[in-house]
């Protein structure tokens, strides 16, 4: 039961057991189950409306499955949601950016709610995604791809053991996709786990340890 206290190291970082979820009359998650170890990447595929986003939102605890459970390090995440949340980073397909704040301000307020970040590290993350030149501009003047890059800068700053990414490469050019690949590779290299929902190919050099296909 309590693996951490007994000294045994749980093999899997994230585990889903028979997740069932209904939306109105639609049976969206029909017994989804998987295991994901440390340093592994799970790719969730499926056509539009197959429930990719719903699965990610269920995994991170925003939605409550009608049956089944999600385990992190062998524990039911519902037992202590705040602790689980501080160990994960969820990036939806819309970046949580405000049109009337600059890119840098957005990043500051977004990340700052989770952890205190010194300005120099903030700038470093912006430089990493190639945003230094325009990070003081209001987000309303940025292109869709540029907004996506600001979201990636957030990803670079979230040192969470678990990443849940929903279509992170949308709107990105080749260079932007390389940045995603590099960030994901680093996350895996330091033993983090990633669940990524996309029907595109994963950005190099990342390879999925498992692929989960959701049927519509």
């Amino acid at each position: 039961m309590n693996l951490r206290d007994s000294g045994a190291v749980p093999v899997n970082h994230l585990e889903a057991e028979d997740l069932q979820l209904w939306r109105g009359d639609r049976h969206v998650l029909k017994g989804v189950a998987f295991v994901l170890g440390r340093g592994e990447c799970l790719q969730v595929t499926g056509t539009n409306g197959a429930g990719k986003t719903t699965l990610l939102r269920t995994l991170c605890g925003l939605m409550v499955p009608e049956a089944g459970r999600v385990l992190c390090e062998g524990r039911d995440v519902r037992k202590d949601l705040p602790a689980f949340h501080s160990s994960l980073m969820y990036l939806g397909h819309e970046a949580p950016l405000k049109a009337d704040l600059t890119a840098r301000e957005n990043l500051h307020y977004w990340i700052g709610v989770r952890r205190s970040v010194p300005g120099s590290i903030l700038d470093a993350a912006l430089a990493r995604v190639g945003a230094s030149a325009w990070c003081e501009r209001l987000v309303r003047t940025l292109s869709a791809g540029q907004k996506r890059r600001v979201a990636l800068a957030g990803l670079a700053l979230m040192f969470a053991p678990l990443w849940l990414l929903d279509e992170p490469t949308t709107n990105l050019d080749t260079e932007g996709q390389q940045v995603v690949g590099a960030l994901m590779a680093e996350q895996l290299a330091r033993g983090g786990a990633i669940v990524i929902a996309t029907h595109q190919q994963l950005p190099a050099p990342v390879r999925a340890a498992r692929i989960l296909e959701l049927a519509a």
């Binding site: 209904w22 109105g24 009359d25």
Partner: protein
């Protein structure tokens, strides 16, 4: 161990079957009590020495008003149980309560107004009781409106439940603030009931009707709960089995 009855009630197929079996046991006594009570109230009870025959409205107004409040409390408690223990059947009970309670609130308002006309000379008086009743109607309408705004039953259940709990906390506050407000303006309070001076011949029909209305509510609630359970258990295997038998 003591909680086994509670867990059994929480199981939808069990409650569904129980509700179907219990309904007649509430419905028939309710019918008898209500008919008997109305007859006693209209014929047997003596006229009031002040209000004459006019006081007989008490026999429909007070039970309706009593139901409107009792149903709201039951709804709030069921909602809290549903929200805290994530219990589907409790949400089904809360959802079933709202239309019943709202209809009794309307009855209490209309009969109150019909009573007020001969007593006060106006169709509407800002009497604290009637005002509270009107606010209660808005609370019911808000609950039903919020539920109707969601197309997913589960979300409607949880959002509605939260509102019902907030409403339940607020009902006493609203009620006392209305009484406080009314005491400043000194409106004549004609509807003073429940005073111990009421003779037994007048009081008995009222008590009979209160019991009858309560049983009536239970019977209607059980029917509605079955409908709500069916709606929430779309995929469950037991439904198919129950329907076939």
């Amino acid at each position: 161990m003591r909680w086994t009855w509670f867990h059994r009630l929480a199981s939808p197929p069990y409650l569904y079957g129980l509700a179907a079996r219990l309904t007649p046991w509430f419905a028939w006594p309710a019918a008898l009590l209500i008919l008997g009570g109305l007859y006693a109230g209209l014929v047997l009870a003596p006229p009031d020495y002040q209000q004459g025959e006019g006081f007989r409205i008490i026999y429909v107004h007070v039970p309706s008003a009593w139901m409107s409040l009792m149903v709201y409390v039951i709804m709030g408690v069921a909602a809290a149980v549903g929200l805290i223990w994530r219990m589907k059947v409790a949400h089904a009970v809360a959802a079933s309560c709202a239309p019943i309670g709202a209809s009794f609130t309307v009855a209490a308002l209309v009969t109150g107004s019909l009573w007020g006309k001969p007593m006060w000379g106006t169709w509407w008086e800002w009497d604290p009781r009637l005002t509270s009743e009107l606010i209660l109607l808005f609370l019911y309408l808000g609950f039903m409106g919020l539920r109707a705004g969601f197309d997913d039953t589960q979300r409607a259940d949880r959002a509605g439940a939260l509102l019902a709990i907030v409403g339940l906390v607020n009902v006493p506050i609203i009620h006392y603030s209305v009484i406080w407000w009314n005491s400043l303006h000194q409106a004549p309070s004609v509807m003073r009931f429940g005073k111990p001076a009421m003779p037994p011949a007048m009081l008995t029909p009222l008590l009979v009707l209160l019991l009858g209305f309560t049983l009536f509510f239970a019977a209607v609630l059980l029917v509605r709960v079955r409908a709500e359970i069916l709606q929430r258990e779309r995929a469950a295997r037991w439904i198919g089995e129950t329907l076939r038998t």
